[in-house]
């Protein structure tokens, strides 16, 4: 099983998929920073992330997504790109779980403000799938 995921083609496909996902996530957010900032406020992570800091996150996260996405697509430092992708995706997933656990319901703005559905079990499953993709994309290349 692990050998299948270690296959260079499988890993490369996972990297391309992760790259496309991050580009699709980054571009609408960069175009409308304010909408993304509102989405971050909506998560209400005040105890962990001070509200005053959320705008800085809104400014930087989309561009980090963009750079990591480009690295994955262009096959330039793809493993580093995949690790960044996986770490961010893990962070997002924790944020979604924390929000769901507190009964918050809102448009997460994950892919910008595109009339996305509110947070729910489906969003969580999506995130877990995208997280798994990142893990496969991060596997070490042999030789």
């Amino acid at each position: 099983m692990l050998e299948f995921f270690r296959h260079p083609t499988v890993r490369r496909v996972a990297q391309l998929g992760a790259g496309v996902i991050f580009l699709a996530a980054a571009l609408p957010k960069i175009a409308d920073l304010e909408a993304f900032a509102v989405s971050i406020h909506n998560f209400h992570m005040d105890p962990v992330v001070p509200m005053a800091l959320t705008n800085v996150l809104a400014v930087t996260i989309p561009w980090i997504e963009l750079v990591a996405g480009l690295a994955l697509l262009a096959n330039v430092r793809p493993r580093a790109g995949a690790v960044v992708y996986t770490a961010l995706m893990a962070l997002f997933t924790v944020a979604v779980i924390a929000a769901l656990a507190r009964g918050l319901s809102f448009d997460c703005g994950c892919f910008g403000k595109s009339g996305a559905a509110n947070l729910g079990a489906q969003k969580l499953l999506e995130n877990l799938g995208m997280l798994a993709l990142g893990v496969v994309a991060s596997l070490e290349r042999r030789g």
Binding site: R11, Q15, I30, L33, E34, A37, V38, H41, N42, H44, M51, A52, L53, T54, N55, V56, A58, V59, T60, I61, P62, W63, I64, E65, L66, V67, A68, A71, N75, V76, R77, P78, R79, A80, G81, V83, V84, A87, G103, L104, S105, F106, G115, N118, E140, R141, G143
Partner: protein
């Protein structure tokens, strides 16, 4: 691995160096972009430090009015609390001024207005959330729909009562925005119940379910 453009064989320190490089490049680009748009012709960047939007509370406005009107107008006598009410909510809801902007109210005042049917209530959440449970008497005007369709808001007739807006957030920024929009459209005495549905539901206050009463 000694080429900077490694195609996937990087590991250890080189891998983490790449990770740090990606994060730093992205963060710098973001800071740069925001710095540029903030000083550009049309300033649509973000403030570096986020300040939550804030409304004046009913108590603050009443205190101001009392201070300003001391001597000229007698302050109304406080209304006795209803001994049967566990929250000790005073009966009487006519003490809401029109100040030309939305006013923040607490759960106590919201309960008082709902019990006395003293306000026209707007639930700004999505229809599915509304159907699953809402404050009794509330009309569903989903924020996303009405903010692009002011005619629906304008057609909302509070029948002379104050308008109480709430939504599902914790600080409830949507209901604040909706409150401002209602005032802009000429509605009087707009109240924003910032605790919103989560607080109301936590207090085990009466709720209604189902999807009737779609707003005009």
């Amino acid at each position: 691995m000694d080429r900077w453009w490694s195609d996937g064989t990087e590991r250890g320190g080189v891998l983490w160096g790449g990770v740090i490089a990606i994060v730093a490049t992205g963060a710098l680009l973001g800071v740069f972009q925001n710095a540029l748009v903030r000083t550009g012709d049309k300033d649509d960047g973000l403030a570096w430090k986020y300040e939550p939007p804030k409304l004046q509370t009913l108590e603050e406005i009443q205190a101001q009015a009392a201070a300003a009107g001391a001597g000229s107008a007698p302050t109304p006598a406080p209304v006795a609390a209803d001994p049967n009410d566990p929250l000790g909510i005073p009966v009487g809801v006519s003490d809401i001024p029109d100040v030309g902007r939305p006013i923040e109210i607490t759960v106590t005042k919201a309960r008082e207005l709902v019990d006395a049917k003293g306000a026209a209530i707007i639930d700004a959440r999505e229809p599915a959330d509304y159907a699953a449970g809402h404050i009794p008497g509330a009309v569903n005007l989903p924020f996303d729909e009405v903010i692009t369709d002011p005619a629906r808001l304008e057609a909302f007739d509070p029948q002379g009562k104050p308008i109480l807006v709430y939504c599902g957030g914790v600080t409830c920024e949507l209901s604040m925005k909706l409150g401002h929009e209602l005032v802009r459209l000429g509605k009087k005495r707009v109240l924003v119940y910032t605790g919103g549905w989560p607080e109301w539901n936590d207090m085990k206050f009466p709720v209604e379910t189902g999807a009737p009463g779609q707003g005009a």
